[in-house]
Amino acid sequence: MRISSNTLFDGNVSALNQQQTRLLQTQQQISTGRRILTASDDPVAATRALDVTQSDAMNTQYALNRTAVRHTLSLAESTLQSVTSLLQDVRTAAISAGNGAFANSDRQTIAAELSGRLQELTGLANSTDGAGNYLFAGFQSKTQPFVDTPAGMGYFGDDGQRLAQVGASRQMASSNSGSDVFMRIKDGNGTFVTQAATANTGSGVASMGNVINPALLTGHNYQIDFTVAAGVTTYSVTDNSTLPVPTVLSAGNPYMSGQAISFDGMQFDVQGAPANGDAFTVSPSANESIFKTISDLIAALNTPLANGTGMAQLTGSLNRGLNNLDNALDNILTTRSSLGLRLNEIDALQTAGEDLSLQFRQMLSELQDVDYNKALSDLTQQQMYLQAAQKTFSKVAGLSLFDYL
């Protein structure tokens, strides 16, 4: 076959070009550390790398979100911790106020102490984060949620609960509304509440009672009326919620102090000696704020007792107050345990997120990073080829018959 002299040169030049291009590509890979320099180097991996980069960035963002949530949850938790110990103090004071040997002035001293506690509690409930946003105002973070009004402590926030995206598919509540924490606490035993009529003169004190058969509960208001005739105390039970006229469920029941009174799935007892005409009401539990519980206690302690009389009222009020304080403590502790669980979950999510991040980084590295061993060995090989091509080219190009003419 004939070879044209041009072919010899052209072929060699293009071979040298190709080898230099490859060498440059490898050199660029090594100097940038990336296998994929442009999308065309590996379109599938490049597209995949974009996706993984986004996933990784979102994962990083979730970690930031978690940090923010952890911050607000910790703030709420430490505030509620203070509330817990405050309520325990209030409880201790309320128990000591039941001491029968106390004079009116002793009770007033305790009342004064409780007033201070109440103000402290209001301050805690109006806590803010570092930026002046109220922790327990629902969505209205710039509105002071708890303000004393003539009608008692008012709540000016809302029920809003802020959520945060703490994982790809997990939204977590990062706040609790003040209404849920401080306002919405069921009084009585959570189902019904017994209360002595204010006009009672006897020494009868009703217990908080309990539910014995939930299926029979009606949610109605009842009244227990005591009659003392010829030294015998009887009582009647009336359902005041039936319309148009109240229904007398039972009448003439013999009364004995401490004996269970039960009807419509509820059971409680009355201790002491009710006077003729004394009455107790039984109504479904309603929401009572912690503030009202404490201010009711203060009001009860501030009410002077005439000799002997009114002791039953005080005992009833203290019992009721203590019971509601327990309910409030329960509510705060429930909220705190929910905060704790969320903080734990954040820790768990944090660990999972870090693992995930590691995986994403690894995946990205596999997709787009250069394998140095391979790249360096390629470089050496390509270098050798290029050198060989250069050497042989100069040899071959030097062969000419004209040299001998």
């Binding site: 999308a39 065309s40 597209t47 986004q54 209205q140 709540y155 029920d159 809003g160």
Partner: protein
């Protein structure tokens, strides 16, 4: 007899001289592009009858011919054409490949940063710095979109220049071929015995080869030696000594680009653009129409999708001032250009109706005198729109703004072409970010039952219900039914209650779960002072990984990734095929050069051969001379 000796020797010297001249010509032109080596054709002279036997008379030069293979030459031209098409397309593609997939400069990191800022607002809805960061992120992402679109526009503008210069080059070559045709015809006619002007033929082949690098042509050789050259669907570029020309004009369907037309005398004849294939020009057209514009459309769709989705969600919310949310982004309006050949007066406009349904294609709206049809150009799917506009196709609505269309009128609709160019940030007020939801639900503190109410959501799609923020009370008249006050239209009578079921009035939806008691009240009210409400911000942030585009099949990042993938794959394909084609060309050229190329060693050998032949003939001459001298000396 003596004179015979001289004639023979002289003819030998002549032949050797011509041989030397041809060899030197070959050597001199060894590097001339398109040169084919030449060879002297010699033959022995007819013998002279001499005493019953024939005596040789020397040598005759029959001619000089070029060593040429028509088949190989044509093959080189064709492969060359394809190679320049592929390599030009590849280098054009490289420009956008580098631009779009860059992990630091593409749109991807900007979108990520924007959504990170949205998350920041969701974490701290009352924080003005967080909101300012979000606006900064929005500015960043729109800048990225616009910068990339600007770069694509620059490339497109550059292409227009390249197309024009390629067309000029083609015209120049056509002119050269026409001139060479004339020269070749005259030279052939002038030579006796049909000798061919080898070097002119080489030159013409070379020009045709160059022309093939610009555009695919077909060549026919005429009997008189002239060639005819055709482009496209058989339009003659060169006939005999006459050259026609191509010209660029503003496109009839899209004023921003140029079309190529055929100029014959004073007539301008439109060409089917996709019939112009191969070569640099074919590559420019293919790159522009099949890669650059689809890339811009795809980028525009991501921009439109992002802007419109964020706007919609923001409008469903309430901003820091307690006002209903507005637009955070300015969005592009689809382009609607009327065809240059339209005879009607119709002006057509288009508007996006659903970003989720948009494709990346362009559309052609056509009126046949009675009905409109919409042709999707990416896959040639036709939708009949009936006799009247407005009509909605693939997420956009076309309307007749003014005038009336005539039969045969066409309009080019490009729904997403300007998406990336025209995206912008609509507000500089950080308070305008609607992080809150316009309504909230509250359970009355006096409630006795255990039922709770969720925070509620606003019904989609837009527009918002005008009574969304009106106060509504849900009051339980029995544990299983409730009455509603404040709803529009008013709700008469009791509504049955199911725990957890959707309760929807005035454009919102809430759920009440648990056991309510008689008299329990739930209020849905305007969300006043809701600086800490991040419900809508969470929804804004959640848009990031929702599949909102292409009928709910891909998200923003996915759509962008698809664009990167398509461009990368095309560039990769072109890289491989152009490499292969370059090798193909090298092989074909080597085969052609094996026949026609000059081998210097061979020519060196020929030099010696003819030198020796000349010396030998001269020696023969000398001998004849000596013989003659001897003869003359006899008479002394």
């Amino acid at each position: 007899m003596g004179s015979n000796l001289f004639t023979s020797a002289l003819s030998g010297m002549n032949a050797a001289q011509i041989g030397l001249a041809t060899t030197e010509h070959n050597i001199a032109n060894a590097n001339t592009p398109g040169f084919t080596r030449q060879e002297v054709l010699i033959g022995s002279r007819p013998p002279q009858s001499f005493g019953g036997s024939f005596l040789g008379q020397g040598v005759d030069i029959v001619g000089v011919k070029r060593i040429y293979d028509q088949f190989l030459t044509t093959q080189v031209q064709q492969e060359q054409n394809q190679a320049s098409y592929l390599s030009t397309y590849h280098s054009a593609m490289k420009q956008i490949d580098n631009l779009i997939a860059d992990p630091t400069a593409g749109v991807s990191p900007a979108m990520q940063e924007f959504f990170n800022a949205v998350n920041g607002v969701a974490n701290n809805p009352e924080s003005v710095p967080a909101r300012q960061t979000l606006l900064g992120g929005a500015q960043f992402v729109t800048n990225r979109f616009r910068a990339i679109d600007q770069r694509l526009t620059d490339i497109a503008n550059g292409l227009t220049g390249q197309i024009t210069s390629s067309v000029n080059t083609i015209n120049t070559y056509a002119q050269q071929i026409a001139t060479l045709n004339g020269n070749i015809k005259r030279a052939t006619a002038a030579s006796q015995g049909g000798q061919l002007p080898n070097d002119l033929l080489d030159q013409r082949d070379q020009v045709i080869n160059q022309l093939n690098k610009e555009i695919k042509v077909s060549v026919q050789t005429q009997t008189d030696g002239a060639v005819s050259v055709f482009v496209g669907n058989g339009q003659a570029l060169v006939i005999n000594e006459q050259a026609m020309s191509l010209r660029t004009i503003q496109s009839s369907s899209d004023p921003s680009k140029v079309d190529i037309v055929y100029q014959s005398g004073n007539n301008t004849i439109p060409l089917q653009q996709n019939s112009l294939q191969g070569g640099n020009l074919g590559a420019y057209l293919a790159f522009r129409d099949q890669s650059l514009e689809p890339a811009r459309n795809a980028l525009g769709r991501v921009a439109l999708g992002l802007a419109a989705s964020i706007n919609q969600q923001n409008q469903l919310g309430q901003d820091l001032n307690g006002v209903l949310g507005g637009n955070l982004f300015n969005t592009a309006v689809p382009r609607a250009d009327k065809g240059a050949l339209n005879t009607g007066t119709a002006v057509v406009s288009a508007a996006i109706s659903d970003v989720g349904a948009l494709t990346t294609s362009d559309y052609q709206l056509k009126f046949d005198g009675a009905n409109y049809t919409m042709l999707r150009l990416s896959d040639n799917t036709t939708t009949n729109l009936g006799a009247t506009l407005p009509q909605t196709v693939d997420g956009f609505t076309v309307s007749l703004t003014a005038g009336a269309a005539a039969a045969g009128d066409t309009f080019l609709i490009r729904p997403t072409a300007n998406g990336a160019r025209d995206i912008g940030v609509a507000t500089s007020d950080p308070a305008k970010i609607a992080a809150a939801v316009p309504m909230r639900a509250t359970a009355a503190l006096t409630n006795i039952g255990s039922a709770t109410i969720g925070s509620g959501t606003v019904n989609t799609p837009l527009p918002l219900d005008p009574n969304l923020q009106a106060s509504v009370s849900i009051t339980f008249d029995t544990p299983t039914t409730f009455t509603v006050t404040g709803a529009v239209p008013a709700v008469v009578g009791s509504v049955a209650y199911t725990s957890g079921a959707d309760i929807s009035y005035n454009g919102w939806t809430v759920q009440i779960t648990g056991t309510p008691s008689v008299g329990d009240i739930f209020d849905i009210t305007q969300n006043t002072n809701a600086t800490g409400d991040n419900r809508n911000a969470l929804l804004l942030a959640a848009l990031q990984n929702q599949n909102l585009l292409a009928n709910g099949t891909i998200g923003f990042q996915g759509a962008y990734g698809q664009l990167v993938g398509e461009i990368g794959a095309k560039a990769h394909e072109l890289d491989v095929t152009s490499q292969a084609q370059t090798n193909m060309v090298a092989q074909t050229v080597a085969a052609q050069q094996a026949v026609s190329g000059v081998n210097l060693d061979e020519e060196a050998a020929n030099l010696l051969r003819y030198q020796r032949a000349y010396q030998a003939a001269a020696k023969a001459m000398q001998i004849a001379n000596t013989m003659f001298d001897a003869l003359l000396s006899l008479g002394r």
